[in-house]
């Protein structure tokens, strides 16, 4: 394992319950995430993993429970406010802006840092121009990091799946988040693409010290790169601990092998 300073608790999820109509997506989930760690959320399909991420970044408002991020406790918050606190995200089904180029997609990640007003932008003048160039430089660094230089001006809709996933990671990174939520970043990839993606995730974690919460189905990947793992099943938490602890947890084994509860 990599040597990093795992810090204090940065994100704390307490007793979250979320229901859609009659369907209980999450019930009474609590866990925490420490600074600089890679925290995995695993569980069978429909366990509520994505819903959990949606709660963390404010897309869903849970009926009960709270989320505490950087010491600030909240029950309801709009996604863009969560973003401004330093949370970025990728999606299970790629949610890139399909009509825009790779570069523009990444530039949207910088949107919170851009301050030029409408008139400056209208005439591409003063602060607007300076900002564009300054942020372009930063975005180019991310493009270099993700090795996607050759496609920077391609509309993302035309890219193959694996590259789209990479661009999406890039967009999240462009926001320079403290907490990065990755929803199945390796789903549907071949082995090489997975290896690349693992490398990027670990590099991000090490180089930028970004805290990562990751949903993944590939157990090999999860066991390799995560520090601690939460296991969900039918919206309930059934396991929490280091990869080894989770691997040997009877409830987890049952859930994955489908033993009757």
């Amino acid at each position: 394992m990599i040597a990093r300073d795992i810090g204090e608790v940065i994100l704390k999820v307490e007793e979250i319950s979320l229901a859609f109509g009659g369907v209980q997506a999450l019930s009474n989930i609590s866990f925490d995430v420490r600074e600089h760690e890679v925290r995995a959320i695993i569980g069978p399909n429909g366990a509520g993993k994505s819903s959990m991420l949606n709660v963390i970044n404010g897309v869903y408002h849970p009926q009960k429970g709270s989320v505490t991020f950087k010491g600030e406790k909240r029950t309801q918050m709009d996604p863009h406010k969560v973003a401004s606190q330093g949370v970025a995200r990728t999606f299970q089904n790629i949610a890139l802006f399909k009509g825009m180029s790779v570069l523009d997609n990444l530039m949207t990640g910088r949107t919170l840092m851009m301050k030029a007003n409408l008139f400056q932008q209208a005439f591409y003048w003063g602060a607007a121009q300076r900002e564009e160039i300054k942020h372009r430089e930063r975005v180019e660094e991310i493009i270099d990091f993700l090795e996607i230089q050759s496609i920077r001006k391609t509309p993302v809709g035309r890219l193959p799946y694996g590259l789209q996933k990479r661009v999406e990671l890039g967009r999240a990174l462009a926001a320079e988040p403290t907490l990065l939520l990755l929803d199945e970043p390796m789903a549907g990839m071949n082995v090489e693409e997975k290896q690349d993606m693992c490398r990027f995730v670990l590099d991000v974690n090490e180089e930028f010290g970004t805290t990562i919460v990751l949903i993944e189905h590939d157990m090999g990947v999860v066991m390799d790169i995560s520090d601690r793992v939460v296991v969900l099943d039918y919206g309930k938490k059934i396991g929490d601990g280091s990869p080894d602890e989770v691997r040997n947890n009877q409830a987890v084994i049952d859930a994955y092998l489908g033993v009757a509860h």
């Binding site: 970044n57 973003a83 399909k98 949207t108 949107t111």
Partner: protein, 354 residues
């Protein structure tokens, strides 16, 4: 062969982010400018100015405004005619009530009034999307139709319901001849096209496009949906309002609400679709297409010497128009601008396509 970026190395991001980073594009734009500012004024007849160039430019401006909203921000509007109407009547009232105002200031203020109205009608976009929003904007259309025909204050108590504006006076000169009017409109439209182009390559343009492509993801990356949508409505309405003021003052001279009815709204939507959603150039192409189509259609029977009644001609025109809309949506939903882009792609490779 002739259109390619090979060998044009850029050494700064500034150069790469220029308006037209490729030399050939700059040449093309330069040519267009030369034609618009020099060739046309020298050679065109009065009829061409009146019937084609002036309406084309003004409608292109409105189409750009609409395209910012529909093509870039993904918020459909079927009420553009109404917002042009607001611009026209705002300008009219400003001009007759405060005669000292410079005409350009009148146009700008009319744009601002339209901005406010447009934002008000944009508020539903925060709750509803797509077709529902289209209906909300239709509401604007019918409400404005009513407002400007029934509330007499707006028409300065004119008994016929029609209003007419005095001769165009600007900087102490009368701008009466078609050429002068053409220049006035051309300068305004060129400036606004530049502004639109700048906006869509800036942060605000990206936040519009992000909202269009995937609003949930946009919000998660930190784009406030309210700001993105309302700013699109605001900017779009400003463009459309100025276009409306120009349409009234420069093109029509006198008008009644019917000049900006629901058909005007529909034609503008078609301009944007046929020209290309999300393309400033497309707005011009679409406007040109819609302006020329009826003129061409009217000429064809006469050209072949087939006598047809005006009613028949009108019905045929409607059919061809409908068929063309469907044709465009099926063959190239991204419009003429996309065809232009494809042509450029081909040119890059020509004459060695592989």
């Amino acid at each position: 062969m002739f259109y390619r970026e090979n060998g044009q190395y850029k050494t700064s991001y500034k150069a790469d982010q220029a308006l037209f980073p490729i030399v050939q594009d700059r040449i093309f734009i330069g040519l267009v400018m030369v034609i618009a500012f020099i060739v046309i004024p020298v050679f065109a007849s009065e009829y061409l100015f009146r019937a084609i160039f002036i309406p084309f430019l003004i409608l292109a401006l409105a189409a750009i405004g609409l395209n910012l909203l529909v093509g870039y921000c993904g918020q459909i509007s079927l009420g553009t005619g109404a917002f042009m109407m607001v611009g026209a009547y705002a300008a009219y009232n400003l001009a007759i009530r405060i005669p000292e105002l410079n005409l350009l200031v009148v146009f700008l203020l009319a744009g601002f009034v339209t901005t406010i109205v447009g934002m008000a009608f944009g508020i539903p976009s925060l709750r509803i999307k797509g077709l529902y929003l289209a209906v909300a904007t239709l509401a604007a259309q019918f409400f404005m139709d009513w407002l400007f025909s029934r509330v007499k204050w707006f028409t300065n108590e004119s008994s016929s319901g029609a209003v007419s504006v005095p001769e165009l006076q600007l900087f102490g000169f009368l701008w009466n001849s078609p050429v002068q009017k053409y220049f006035l409109v051309l300068c305004i439209v060129a400036l606004f096209a530049l502004i639109a182009r700048n906006l869509v390559r800036s942060n605000i343009g990206r936040s519009w496009m992000a909202t269009r492509d995937m609003d949930v993801a946009a919000e998660i990356i930190g784009i406030r949906p309210m700001y993105a949508k309302l700013s699109a409505f605001a900017v779009s309405s400003f463009f459309v309002g100025v276009a409306g003021a120009l349409w009234g003052f420069v093109h029509l001279g006198s008008w009644e609400p019917a000049a900006f009815d629901v058909n005007r709204s529909f034609t503008l939507i078609f301009m944007v679709i046929i020209g290309g959603l999300g393309s400033i150039l497309g707005s011009f192409l679409g406007a040109a297409f819609i302006i020329f189509l009826p003129i061409v259609l009217n000429q064809i029977p006469a050209f072949f010497g087939i006598p047809i009644s005006t009613a028949t001609a009108a019905h045929l025109e409607s059919m061809i128009f409908g068929a063309l809309i469907i044709f465009f949506l099926i063959v190239e939903p991204h419009g003429l601008a996309r065809l232009w882009a494809i042509a450029k792609e081909k040119l890059r490779l020509w004459p060695f396509p592989h």
